[in-house]
């Protein structure tokens, strides 16, 4: 744009020469520029005003059309259910491996109030406080007499409670149908099932969503209308689970432990037949997550999956098996176990002095740390790491509950030689009982990788081969000898030929170091030893028992007897036939007088 200067010198000079007032030129130019600017503004404003007019017109037209659409649609009753139509209330059942119900739905009602329609708020509040002792009367009076038009009172009420509320007879109290999640077996398998709560909530229906456990992982599947309400079948066995929980609870109490966990797994399919973590909770009334204290003090904490612990000597069999697999040793190879074994500033000692040398088989049987560490030195760190990785010890367990993500193992940041040695006897690596179960299943089933699962499988699921059949058989023999001659002598269950390995690990302090008097006692077992069908891992948290004149905490005195009792109870339920030796005939005593 070319702008004319307001005082063009040429014209000013000319004007001066002619005796005219030069200011008039400036004024004239200013006026011209001003008018030019106004014209431009006006042209722009014209366009924009037109746009505004069109926009307003269109907006009004839209409102009119929308009014017409609404007016031409059908009215519905204000109390119709249509508003909740988008809430999918169907949620499929969850059953055990034999189709017995673990989780189902129950028709119930919610209770809400329309305070504006309430006639006697005070009396209603008093009566409600009588029916539901957990409700606060003062609070309700405040809610009912205020400006609120809608108040939730209870999300779920029983038919008896509904009748009682109905008998109050106030028109301001109303019920909405609800479908609630029911766990008919109460605490049974609570940690697997997790729990459910209401998601999107309307007056006439509410969405039931899983909040934990398998309910959460399979939330979309369970709610998917395309599945047609087909129940989700788990690998758990209800009766076995009940027996296991009962035995474990008794064992935990007897051994004065503060917590306990047990995993029973099918070695060929990886199916978890039973998984127990104590203390537990009732999923029908799931407690709130703890806001303070250690997470494992909460009953919500799943010790079998989330509890990653140093599981101690139970790891020794992996070192022995790998050394045999690599051809470094055979069961009768003699290893020097003179102690203490010094490595840098670290010293490795045994629980007892087992002499100068032991065979590999005896090292497992006696549970010698020094001997295992020597085996690990022969194997080397990288091969050890690879082997443990194949057994699934380096990643979170893939079981189908949300808590599985909490099972990520704690590994040494630097897999040094001392780590290699300590890991070989289960220190310096923290895994969950579920990890251990999968790894023992691999040893037990002939040497193939096992992927633990909570869903029922159709047949054996053999993964990658980890060790040869022969090594697997030799390892089982060693484990069997641990029970018959070694540290787990209390583990013998007549007819079921239990094989296993004990593990007692000092609990780490939260700020580093280890407690002297707090241990995690573990018994990792398989039965029957000649052709194992099941693996049972049983862990007691801080057990303590008094026997033969001293306080005992080792797994052989704590976890093993409990595991033996559990096998005694569940093996018949699993359909295993005891292999009974023809025994001596009992003398017949006539009791008739």
């Amino acid at each position: 744009m070319t702008r004319i200067p307001l005082r063009p010198l040429a014209r000013i000079l000319e004007a001066r020469a002619n005796g005219e007032n030069p200011d008039a030129i400036e004024k004239e130019n200013t006026r011209a520029r001003h008018e030019d600017m106004r014209d431009r503004d006006r042209a722009r404003a014209e366009g924009r005003l037109l746009v505004l007019g069109v926009v307003f017109f269109c907006a009004y037209a839209v409102i009119g059309v929308r009014m017409g659409m609404m007016a031409s649609s059908e009215p519905y009753e204000p109390r119709a259910r249509a508003s909740s139509a988008h809430i999918v209330t169907q949620r499929a059942d969850i059953t055990d491996r034999h189709g017995r119900i673990l989780a189902t739905n129950l028709e119930t009602h919610s209770l809400y109030a329309h305070p504006q329609q309430m006639i006697e708020p005070k009396r209603v509040a008093t009566e409600l406080a009588r029916i539901f002792p957990d409700l606060d009367r003062e609070r309700m009076i405040k809610d009912f007499s205020g400006k609120r038009k809608f108040v939730w009172i209870k999300k779920k009420i029983s038919p008896e409670q509904k009748q009682a509320v109905h008998d109050i007879g106030d028109p301001g109290l109303l019920f909405g149908p609800r479908e609630m999640r029911l766990y008919p077996n109460g605490r049974l398998a609570a940690h697997v099932l997790g729990g459910a709560s209401f998601g999107k909530e309307g007056v006439d229906a509410a969405e039931v969503i899983g909040v934990a456990g398998i309910e959460k992982v399979y939330d979309t599947y369970l709610r998917d209308p395309a599945e047609g309400g087909k129940p989700l079948q788990l690998s758990l066995d209800l009766t076995v689970q009940a027996a296991a929980e009962q035995v474990l609870y008794g064992g935990m109490k007897l051994m004065n432990a503060k917590g306990a966990a047990a995993v029973l797994m099918d070695v060929h399919t990886g199916e978890v037949i039973s998984v127990v973590s104590l203390p537990d909770f009732d999923p029908n009334d799931r407690p709130r997550p703890p806001t303070e204290g250690a997470p494992d003090d909460s009953p919500l904490f799943n010790r079998a999956v989330q509890g990653v612990y140093e599981l101690g000597s139970t790891f020794k069999i992996f070192a022995a098996a790998q050394a045999m697999e690599l051809g470094l040793v055979n069961p009768s190879t003699v290893i020097d176990i003179r102690g203490p074994l010094k490595w840098g500033k670290h010293r490795i000692r045994d629980f007892h002095n087992y002499g100068k040398e032991l065979s590999v088989s005896k090292i497992i049987e006696k549970s010698s740390n020094i001997g295992t560490a020597r085996l690990a030195m022969m194997i080397g760190g990288s091969r050890q790491r690879e082997f443990l990785g194949k057994l699934g010890m380096l990643d979170a367990v893939p079981v189908e509950i949300v808590e599985a993500s909490g099972s990520t193992p704690l590994l040494p940041s630097n897999w040094s030689e001392i780590s290699t040695m300590t890991i070989s006897y289960g220190h310096g690596i923290s895994v969950s009982p579920m990890h251990l179960a999968a790894a023992y299943a691999a040893v037990a089933n002939g040497g193939t990788q096992v992927r633990p699962t909570l869903l029922k499988q159709d047949g054996p699921q053999y993964g990658q081969r980890v060790m040869s059949q022969q090594v697997s058989a030799a390892s089982r023999d060693m484990l069997r000898r641990v029970v018959t001659e070694g540290t787990a002598s209390f583990g013998e269950v007549e007819g079921y030929a239990v094989a296993g390995k004990t593990g007692t690990a000092d609990k780490p302090k939260p700020r580093g170091g280890y407690y002297k008097d707090k241990v995690i006692a573990t018994f990792a077992s398989m039965f029957p030893a000649d052709d194992p069908k099941y693996v049972l891992i049983l862990t007691l948290d801080e057990p303590e028992t008094y026997a033969l004149g001293e306080t005992r905490r080792t797994a052989g005195w704590t976890a093993v007897p409990v595991a033996a009792e559990m096998i005694n109870r569940v093996a018949p339920l699993l359909g295993l036939r005891p292999q009974v030796e023809p025994g001596k005939l009992a003398g017949i005593t006539l009791t008739s007088n």
Binding site: E35, L49, A71
Partner: protein
């Protein structure tokens, strides 16, 4: 002649006031406003009966009051529309100052009538809401400032008016009254748009709004749920919106009949925010479309007349007034048909309410005054040879 020269006999300048007013005023808009007011009374007969019953007055107590206020408002509108734009501007600026002081005094002298927001002065027989009177005053002042900024060597009026708008919005938000605050902001925005907001800025603001909206939607679950709830086609039939939607459906094309409607008994705000639902139920789509058409004629016609206007001040002030009037009606009706999220806003001239009626009368009077036919300097242009 001598007397005339020396001023002893008054000289009539131009033609008499009333004939000139009748010749130049926008008779279409005027008749639309009168019709709206009539419809308001008609609906008041239906919608305010439950309120009167609840408060223990005679059935048509509120209709009488509405008629009295409405008469006052019509007189105010006619008087205002007869003034010259200059006169309107002077009085509006004075009125704005008074209303502004009154608004600032609210926290100390105002009352909230138990509704939680301090917006009113109680005068015993009636109450006054200063923000209703502030709106038209603010529009005139802001238009004046923006027009001044379009002069060469004029003051930076656009910035001044923005600062003023911000102060008022803050004051209103403190009450809190976000509805009025957003109206003020909207009116300023429209005026700024017509006064020549740079395109880049407009595009930037639009982009920023979209970005902020999607960011809020993605990052805040609460916000997302609100939006989803608004977008979802289903509606709990026991909310106000549910009742309103149902009333519109019940009414159908020709309504359920005069006095037969039910929604007014259920909705506490049937006589103010949801009066369009009462109209739809009792008189059907026909009356609702009439009301929409009336508002649309008032707004669109005023804007088309303002296109021809050459004076920047008149153009801006008229635009602001028309836009505010139109958008208020639009929000009210848009909420009832669920095109907009719920927000309490009265339907100008139709809803019950003294302050809003009189202030609305004054505002529309100003609009009429600004849209009157007046010479637009065509003769000057012909004389100066600049005609286009």
């Amino acid at each position: 002649m001598t007397e005339m020269v020396y001023g002893a006999v008054s000289v009539r300048e131009g033609e008499p006031v009333l004939p000139k007013w009748w010749r130049t005023v926008d008779k279409w808009v005027l008749s639309c406003i009168l019709m709206l007011f009539g419809i308001g009374l008609l609906l008041g007969l239906a919608a305010s009966v439950p309120l009167a019953e609840k408060n223990g007055f005679g059935a048509f107590h509120y209709v009488m009051r509405q008629a009295v206020f409405g008469g006052t408002a019509m007189v105010a509108m006619l008087i205002t529309s007869m003034m010259s734009p200059l006169m309107v501007r002077r009085l509006a600026v004075l009125g704005f100052l008074i209303a502004f002081v009154a608004l600032m005094g609210l926290p100390f002298l105002g009352t909230d009538f138990g509704k939680g927001a301090v917006r009113w002065y109680s005068l015993g027989f009636a109450s006054i809401q200063p923000s209703e009177f502030l709106k038209p005053g603010f529009i005139v002042v802001a238009a004046w400032m923006m027009a001044a900024s379009q002069e060469i060597n004029g003051p930076p009026g656009k910035s001044f008016s923005l600062i003023l708008a911000t102060i008022i919005v803050l004051l209103l938000s403190l009450q809190p009254d976000f509805g009025q605050a957003s109206l003020i902001l909207f009116a300023w925005g429209v005026m700024y748009f017509v006064a020549g907001a740079p395109m880049v800025l407009l595009a930037g603001i639009a982009g920023a709004v979209v970005m902020a909206g999607s960011f809020a939607y993605n990052s805040s679950e609460h916000f997302a749920r609100r939006i989803d709830g608004f977008l979802s086609p289903d509606l709990d039939p026991r909310t106000q919106l549910g009742y309103a939607a149902n009333a519109i459906r019940e009414g159908g094309f020709f309504g359920v009949g005069v006095g037969e409607g039910q929604v007014k008994w259920s909705l506490p705000d049937a006589h103010t925010d949801f009066i369009i639902a009462v109209a739809a139920e009792e008189y059907g789509l026909v009356l609702v479309l009439c009301i929409i058409a009336l508002y649309s004629v008032i707004v669109v016609r005023s804007m088309l007349r303002l296109i021809r206007e050459r004076d920047p001040f008149i153009r801006l002030a008229g635009t602001g007034l028309a836009a505010m009037f139109g958008v208020q009606a639009m929000i009210n009706m848009g909420v009832a048909v669920r095109l907009l999220p719920a927000k309490g806003m009265t339907l100008p001239f139709v809803s019950y309410g003294g302050s809003s009626l009189i202030a609305g009368g004054i505002a529309v009077g100003m609009l009429l005054a600004f849209t009157r036919t007046r010479p637009q300097g065509e003769i000057d242009e012909i004389f100066q040879g600049r005609g286009r």
